[in-house]
């Protein structure tokens, strides 16, 4: 029995399972829509369903990996781009960029990234200056989140053109996704993921604590800053086309650590796969459950992910260290 359990908890099998779920969900996402099931209408597939499916994959992977990085670098399992204000920073950046004329393309993604970087460095600078405890960093992030959301609201109220912060954007959704917004952001996510995959050993060493990391020859502050920029890039680029999807960056890294263990290689690879799979499945559900009406995917994710997350926290048996 124990051997059977060990077999099913094999990391490679779990990753393979994630890939299969992702591939199946992506296939269904391309097949299924309000206009019917199948591949008949190539225009709809090419310009509606395919970009939407790709958007789910990129945003799911980007936000989950961003959350995994933030949790490691800030040494706090509550850190996620949605909670500490990175997503809100991206939303603020997009709104400011929108007012200044960056309504789409690379400038749109760059303004999201700039806002995310602004948020993450505001938090870390304040934490560093105050030599803050782990919990204080999160509370500071919550404050930054509120400030940036309020600033975005103020701009939206004062400037009628900045209508980007609509309900779909706030909750997160893919109903209006297009190649124009997706492609530059996807390139940014791919580049950031490629860099993260070259720094997996650095991510492990960071988790040993600042003093041990320094003893191993790491320039800790510089390395952490690099990771924070990468996390901002992943979250900012994702928010630019997916809206403020807040939940995924928190729960997927938790889920991955629980079922696969958490060295850098496993954590990042599995977070990318399961994040993409979870978002694609959630988006499919958002389109299908109340068809022909469609829910913003953020609602589905919160409805499914919330209870799952609470269940994970309650049933700690079988988890790994530092959960």
């Amino acid at each position: 029995m124990k051997g059977l359990k060990k077999f099913f908890l094999n990391k490679k099998l779990i990753l393979l399972f994630g890939i299969l779920v992702l591939a199946s969900a992506a296939f269904l996402s391309i097949c299924v829509g309000p206009s019917g099931i199948g591949f008949a209408d190539k225009t709809i597939i090419r310009y509606v369903r395919l970009p939407r499916t790709l958007a789910c994959i990129f945003a799911g992977a980007g936000l989950s990996v961003s959350g995994a990085i933030l949790q490691r670098v800030l040494a706090n399992k509550l850190a996620s781009p949605g909670i500490i204000g990175v997503n809100a920073g991206a939303g603020f950046g997009i709104t400011v960029g929108y007012v200044l004329g960056a309504a789409s393309g690379i400038l749109y993604s760059v303004s999201a990234f700039a806002g995310a970087v602004l948020a993450v460095f505001a938090i870390t600078l304040a934490a560093y200056k105050a030599r803050a405890a782990k919990t204080t960093v999160i509370l500071g992030g919550v404050a930054v989140n509120a400030i940036l959301n309020a600033a975005t609201e103020a701009i939206t109220v004062l400037n009628n053109d900045a209508r980007i912060m609509n309900a779909d954007f706030r909750v997160g959704g893919f109903s209006a996704v297009s190649y124009v917004r997706l492609v530059p952001a996807a390139v940014m996510i791919l580049v950031a993921l490629a860099v993260v995959f070259t720094l997996l050993n650095d991510l492990d060493v960071i988790s040993m604590g600042d003093e041990t990391a320094r003893g191993l020859g790491m320039n800790v502050r510089r390395t952490k800053n690099i990771f924070l920029v990468l996390a901002s890039l992943l979250a900012g680029a994702s928010v630019s086309f997916a809206g403020l999807l807040g939940f995924i960056g928190l729960i997927i890294p938790h889920f991955v650590r629980r079922v696969c263990g958490g060295n850098g290689k496993t954590l990042i690879t599995a977070s990318a796969i399961f994040g993409a799979a979870f978002l694609t499945v959630s988006d499919l559900a958002a389109r299908v459950i109340f068809a022909p009406f469609e829910l913003p995917v953020g609602i589905i994710m919160a409805a499914v992910g919330g209870p799952v997350f609470i269940a994970l926290l309650i049933h700690k048996k079988g988890g790994h260290a530092n959960d």
């Binding site: 650095d202 604590g209 041990t212 020859g217 263990g261 060295n263 790994h320």
Partner: protein, 248 residues
């Protein structure tokens, strides 16, 4: 080889170490002892760059530390801090990260790194538990894992900050054996210790600190006979069957 010449150091504007001259011998165990807050840990942190040097000169491997990168310092000096986290990794994964200072682009460990890690794991008697997560291990096994990581670093100098903390007496004795083995491997071992009889027993040389200054350097016998132990700790020690004990 490390040498500190007239070093002043601390954290920010707070100066803790004053006029430190320190040169531990190769292949010997040097113990740093002193009351709480005297600067023992800061001395080790200063060597690896975790404290700010205000004045003086630190030589690492014969070169001025200021001219060396963090990785170059780590190739010469391994440092085991007192407080260590319990990362979500197996023994083997942690020990392998001892090769981190030797990593070069594309930042992947090579076959020889895995081989060196394997040797370090075997040397510390951790081979049977190499696939277990650190959180599943006892305090002694965790400490041995971190020492194996330091061994894997292949540095001639190993600094340990209170390595016996949280260990029961049986594990303390085992750890002392490991520290002696490191010195036998011609490593320069510098360790901060709180337990004076233990320090007297395992160290070849003692460095007694008080208020950020080194009050005495020499053998344990010389430390006791000079009266510096009594002066700094306000206790007396005497020898019984070749071992120092507290005199009540």
């Amino acid at each position: 080889m490390i040498e500190l010449k007239n070093v002043y150091a601390g954290y920010g504007k707070k100066e803790i170490l004053k006029k430190i001259n320190f040169a531990p011998e190769t292949g010997k165990i040097t113990g740093i002892i002193g009351p709480n807050g005297c600067g023992k840990s800061t001395l080790l942190k200063t060597i690896v760059g975790l404290a700010d040097v205000v004045g003086g000169e630190i030589l690492v491997g014969g070169k001025n530390k200021e001219e060396l990168s963090s990785s170059q310092i780590a190739r010469e000096v391994a440092y085991l801090p007192q407080s260590k986290t319990t990362p979500d990794m197996t023994v083997e994964q942690i020990v392998l990260h001892g090769r981190f200072p030797h990593l070069d682009y594309p930042r992947r460990y090579k076959k020889e790194d895995f081989e060196i890690a394997k040797q370090a794991i075997k040397m510390m008697g951790l081979y049977d538990i190499k696939d277990r997560y650190l959180a599943e291990l006892s305090g002694g096994q965790k400490q041995k894992t971190y020492i194996a990581m330091a061994l894997c670093q292949s540095s001639p100098v190993i600094l340990m900050d209170e390595p016996t903390t949280y260990l029961d007496i049986a594990h303390q004795i085992k750890l002392c054996g490991i520290i002696k083995e490191l010195a036998d491997m011609e490593k320069t071992v510098v360790t901060v210790l709180h337990d004076l009889p233990l320090a007297m027993r395992i160290c070849d040389s003692l460095c007694v600190m008080q208020n950020g200054e080194i009050m005495f350097s020499g053998s344990p016998d010389e430390a006791v006979s000079s009266g510096v132990i009594e002066q700094v700790f306000e206790i007396k020690m005497r020898k019984l069957d070749g071992e120092y004990i507290y005199e009540y």
